[in-house]
Amino acid sequence: MRIAVVALLLFCTLPGGSMADSPKVNRAMIEGMQHSLDNKLSNLWPQDPAEVLGVSQGTYIQGYGAIFLGEVNLAPATRLSPFHPTVSADEVRRTHDKKMQRMAGIRSAMRAMLVDSARSLDSLPADEQVAVGLSLFYWKWENRDGLPSQIVMHAPRKVLLQSAGAEQASIASEEF
């Protein structure tokens, strides 16, 4: 009798386990969104592009949603080298001003990425989140007043799909 009960329980758990192992969003979809994120960041200012550092990463967490992370230098500046050992106050000021000017653009681009991701990730449940985290790179000599180190935006997919545009979507945004 005991053996029969155990066998019945094992039989019942097999279909559930196989269903739990299959993610709702597959890796190929995530990679596609990674490229999309890279391209958007690289082509944000075509005349004077921001520099995307490393490869943007994305992952799907079952029950939470899809998360994309990237790092970008909003205003590439002259690097320190033996031929350029110091940075002038004017360079510091210009770099800071440029990054401050680009903050609005990067926030807007991140909102657009969230909406695009929500539309592209068809298999993502509507209640689950789409999140984008962007780390901003700074050289040690830079003036970081008023500039965040990281921007994180996220919203449920259904909210993103329901909004008419990225600017109108109700997106939670946090800056650190």
């Binding site: 520099e51 550092l53 490393g54 490869v55 790092e71 690097r79 320190l80 050289w139 040690k140 000599w141």
Partner: protein, 184 residues
Amino acid sequence: MSCELDLTGYVVDELAKRERGVVEDHVRGCQSCREELDRLNLTRSALASLEDEEIPRRIAFVSDRVFEPRWWQTMWHSGPVMGFASAALLAAAILAHAFVVHPMAVDTAQVEKRIESQLNARVQAAVNEAQARQSAEFAKVLDATEHRFETQRQADLANFLQADEYRQKQMARLEVASNEASGQ
């Protein structure tokens, strides 16, 4: 005084009784004579208070030897003699000083040696003090320089590491792009 009375005789008591009466009657009525009589009485009283001095019995003449100046008075009042005497006294004093007072024997070698040793000691002390002060200042400057150098080195290292990390991220991106391109 216009009155012709012998007041002096009255005062020295040389007048006769009748003449004394005349003087006394006149003095009562004449103020100037009365004042003159008072002055004469005062003089007589002063003279009376002096001791009697005996009149010298010996009479001397100016030509007497007793009035001749002594030899020292002659010298004292003679300028040339006093000048000569002073010069002679000074010469005698010099001679006496030369013969009596012997100069103190000075060992110049020892004095020089002593001066040299004191001088050397002071110079050495000054040199030691200067060296100590210079060493302290040098150590201070060296510490500050080392600290500044170390701070700069740490900053350079941090900048280098950050630049290296930045470059690695760029390389990783290029490598991924290259792989994807070759895969296509």
